[in-house]
């Protein structure tokens, strides 16, 4: 490869340099694709292997596929001689759905009026409030999780869905308010003024103008909020127990003192990743906007 590049008269031979350019571009594109996709491909392969094939030296691309790892996930218990770890993955999956949906619902209910106020009214400390909301995005989680853990132990919220839903508000509420505010602000103020002239109160403006017009934006916010909850790991790691673990905490349960269950862990990562892959296709135009809380559109 290197010798070929050196001997090619790239500067003088126009045709050769154009070919070389195309080859370099194709190689770069291929490299980028491989870097992005190969880990998914390899984990999918690993999840379809039996333990013998996983530990094969050198790693093998050809093997007789098995669904044993997925079966073990669905059965909610591992096979084999070690019984100290019994991750109940279907329960973890259900927990992820319950907690993520609950958190997003609470955030949207509280967030719609707040975002409306921030988008359409002016009042003292408005910018300060917006800044406080934004700053939650950057707080190290441990600063919240230590006191929450101690409080939850006393209040009986430890290892409950409600406790997790409340803690997840740190993730979803500031995000929801900022996103909805940026969508509400995109609605021309003239429409709102016209509705007011027609006799609509602020509530009428909200329910008959703002909400119907920003439905797509609300849907995007709900989906992205759900995905951020699905990704949450450190809050449930400390605030949940075996009955309320979500998939992210569930997936590391396949690492125990005795062994790492590579195959089942691979299957678990595929199952945990699947909703994210499907949902990110649905909202692909808005992901960057969501990750920067509306700072980049």
């Amino acid at each position: 490869m290197t010798t070929a590049a050196v001997t090619l008269p790239t500067v003088h031979g126009v045709r050769l340099s154009r070919h070389l350019r195309q080859v370099v571009i194709a190689l770069a594109a291929l490299l980028l694709l491989a870097w992005t996709v190969f880990p998914f491909f390899w984990i999918l392969l690993t999840s379809l292997k039996n333990p013998g094939d996983i530990l094969a030296v050198p790693p093998t691309f050809t093997f007789s596929p098995t669904l044993d790892n997925y079966a073990a996930l669905v059965m909610g218990e591992q096979r084999g001689q070690y019984s100290s770890t019994r991750p109940d993955f279907p329960l973890f999956f259900l927990n992820s759905i319950i907690v993520s949906l609950g958190s997003v619902a609470l955030s949207v209910i509280a967030g719609i009026p707040a975002a409306y106020a921030l988008a359409r009214f002016s009042f003292p400390f408005k910018n300060g409030l917006g800044f406080v909301l934004m700053s939650f995005r950057f707080v190290p989680f441990i600063a919240f999780v230590i006191p929450l853990y101690l409080l939850y132990q006393r209040l009986g919220l430890y290892n409950t869905h409600a406790g997790l839903i409340f803690a997840y508000q740190l993730i979803t509420l500031p995000f929801t308010i900022w996103m909805l505010r940026s969508f509400f602000q995109e609605i021309p103020i003239e429409i709102q003024e016209a509705a007011k002239i027609d006799g609509c109160s602020w509530l009428g403006v909200l329910t008959r103008v703002i909400l119907p017009l920003s439905m797509p934006g609300i849907a995007v916010t709900v989906i992205l909020g759900f995905m951020f909850c699905w990704n949450a790991f450190n809050y449930p790691l400390m605030l949940a127990g075996r009955q309320t673990f979500p998939v992210t905490v569930g997936a590391i349960q396949f690492i125990s003192y005795e062994q790492v269950l590579w195959g089942q862990m691979a299957a678990a990562t595929i199952v945990a990743a699947l909703p994210q892959l499907v949902l990110s296709l649905m909202v692909q135009k808005y992901i960057v906007r969501g990750l920067t809380m509306g700072a980049v559109k």
């Binding site: 984990i43 009026p113 989680f141 230590i146 740190l170 945990a272 990743a273 994210q276 980049v296």
Partner: protein, 286 residues
Amino acid sequence: MLPYLLLAPALILLLGMVYPFGLGLYYSFTSYWLQYPNRFRFVWLDNYISLVEEPLFARALEFTLGFTLAAVVIQVGLGLAVALFLHARIRGRGAIRALMLMPLMMPPVITALMWKIMMASTTAGILNYLLSFLGIGPVNWFGSTEGAVVSVLIIDTWGNLPFVALILLGGLQALPSEPYEAALVDGAGPLATLRYVTLPLLSPFIVLVVLFRAMDSLRIFDVIYATTLGGPNDATTNLHIMAYQYSFQWYQMGKGMAQAIVLLLLVVTVSYLLMRLWNRAAESTV
């Protein structure tokens, strides 16, 4: 009055979060052992002082800052290259762009587990197998101090490179075309155009991704927890992992909380400096 009424539900929820934080701030000035509630007492700044005197603290601070610097430089540098590459209307750009979204929204801990499988240190690990074709001998990814640091960097970069690249690509696509025409008339080559037209115009976007990536790298937790847990020999222990160890492994809640506050102050300082830089960059390119 009305705006406050509208804000009330959200403010109540927010207050519910600020209250535990305030409680935690108070705990950071107390000796609070979870197993020995009787020993609870107010100790002023003792936690902070003993923390700074801890030999591990200096190392964790160094790793936190070093990791952040390395992650930001690598990810923004590579991300800029990818963005420029995709901006050049190459064939299959749409497909590559869509595929790059896949790592972006993965749970970081799941990303870490995927790489943990690929980074098995034996020759059964696919990454070592692939590297062997390049003549790179089996790397002890998580078992050696250098290997562990490099592993965490690689995993974090895989998950976040698309974020940087997509924001910068969006920035490139929003740039006005007039400066480029002027540069063309002046006979500027591609490198000069990049240096004197593209980068200055792109600077608000660059500062923005640096801000987001720096904030997230300073408090990276999930990837380290799932792969090295701060090891080996504390080589990948950052301030966040150290705070976790104090509070949830040794149950010294006061000391853990003090550590969390120190990390928070660090994050606030860095974000303040970067915000100022952002304002300046945004002003200069109006």
